[in-house]
């Protein structure tokens, strides 16, 4: 179904269209949340919360941006807010954060877990949620969601050059922690 038609049905409050929207975007949202938060149990809850916000926000969505761009923005904003709350809470409570793929309700499809790079890759996936927010957002949207610099710029509300710079710094940040000693 074309995005325009889906939007029109959503604006009319059709729950069936909403079910289709959830079905179309659930993997995209849950992946983004999982990378941004790094906690599987919370990722599932947060992804549900994203869709609730979408449902409530639909009457206000004017369609100036693409539907997916709007969904990405809501997801990122919620994750950032959640991180802030968690940081504030962490001052009082120690939180044990399991890796996202250890949760039974999450099914992952890794490229080649037995390859030489597997331990390095596992370490990298643990590091991504710890990255500074801007870098983490840019790197997740670029590599995991396969978005272009332009699309990422629209979502993050920054120029294309800034997106490139975030990606460059994000990789430098990762390289520093993954390949110490080999750092240029």
């Amino acid at each position: 179904m074309a995005e325009d038609e889906l939007l029109q049905r959503l604006r009319q409050g059709e729950t069936r269209a909403f079910a289709q929207l959830v079905d179309n975007y659930k993997d995209m949202v849950i992946n983004l949340v999982a990378r941004m938060l790094g906690k599987s149990a919370e990722a599932e809850d947060m992804a549900q919360e994203v869709f609730l916000r979408i449902w409530k926000g639909l009457p206000k969505f004017r369609g100036e941006a693409k539907l997916s761009t709007w969904i990405y923005r809501i997801t990122i904003n919620l994750c950032i807010a959640q991180k802030k709350t968690a940081r504030a809470r962490a001052q009082f409570l120690p939180v044990d954060e399991p890796a996202i793929w250890s949760h039974p309700s999450m099914h992952t499809t890794a490229g080649n877990p037995y390859g030489e790079e597997a331990p390095l890759k596992a370490r990298m996936e643990q590091l991504i949620p710890q990255m500074p927010e801007k870098y983490r957002t840019a790197i997740t949207l670029y590599y995991l969601e396969n978005l272009s610099y332009l699309e990422i710029g629209e979502i993050m509300d920054v120029p294309m050059g800034t997106v490139k710079s975030y990606l460059f710094r994000a990789k430098a940040w990762l390289r520093e922690r993954l390949l110490p000693g080999e750092e240029k």
């Binding site: 179904m1 999982a34 099914h107 390289r175």
Partner: protein, 165 residues
């Protein structure tokens, strides 16, 4: 180009997003500069790992749980059926065009070719040109110019609409 600049451009060099001249320049630098080559190897390794990260999938009950949480009634019917119908509505016009093309392609092409020849004859008569080749060149050039103008105008209006939105 300095090594620092080349290092900065490595991600685009790897994904082939650089202009040919810059691509060539970095390729030549890689042959000579071992430190740059080491950076290139690291960049490739990191890039490869980032592109093949584990993909997390929501479980099949996810949509139902969103509906429960929102307090919405679960829609009747299967979403999978909607998905198939949606795809059908996208591909049906393309399929119809292909079918029409297969069934009536030959008579349509013959008719269009006839029209084209008639138009060239008329054009030759109007311009006072007897050679069919000259009127063809004239017609093709005119049509190309019209097409380019249309694309430029369309692009201009689309950009204007986007920037004013």
């Amino acid at each position: 180009m300095t090594r620092e600049k080349a290092i900065e451009l490595l991600p685009e060099f790897i994904c082939g997003g650089l202009p040919p001249a810059q691509h060539k320049e970095i390729a030549a630098l890689l042959e000579m500069d071992t430190e740059l080559y080491q950076a290139f190897e690291q960049e490739k390794l990191l890039d490869g790992m980032l592109r093949t990260q584990s993909w997390v999938r929501a479980d099949s009950d996810f949509t139902n749980r969103v509906f429960e949480k929102a307090g919405l009634p679960l829609p009747n019917g299967d979403i999978a059926v909607d998905r198939v119908l949606g795809r059908l509505s996208t591909y049906a016009p393309i399929g119809t065009l292909i079918l029409v093309g297969v069934l009536y392609g030959r008579p349509i092409v013959t008719r269009l070719w006839g029209l084209w020849r008639d138009a060239l004859g008329w054009l030759g008569g109007t311009l006072g040109v007897e050679s069919l080749q000259t009127s063809t060149t004239f017609a093709v050039t005119a049509l190309t110019l019209v097409a380019i103008s249309a694309i430029v105008a369309f692009d201009f209006f689309v950009r204007r609409d986007h920037s004013s939105a």
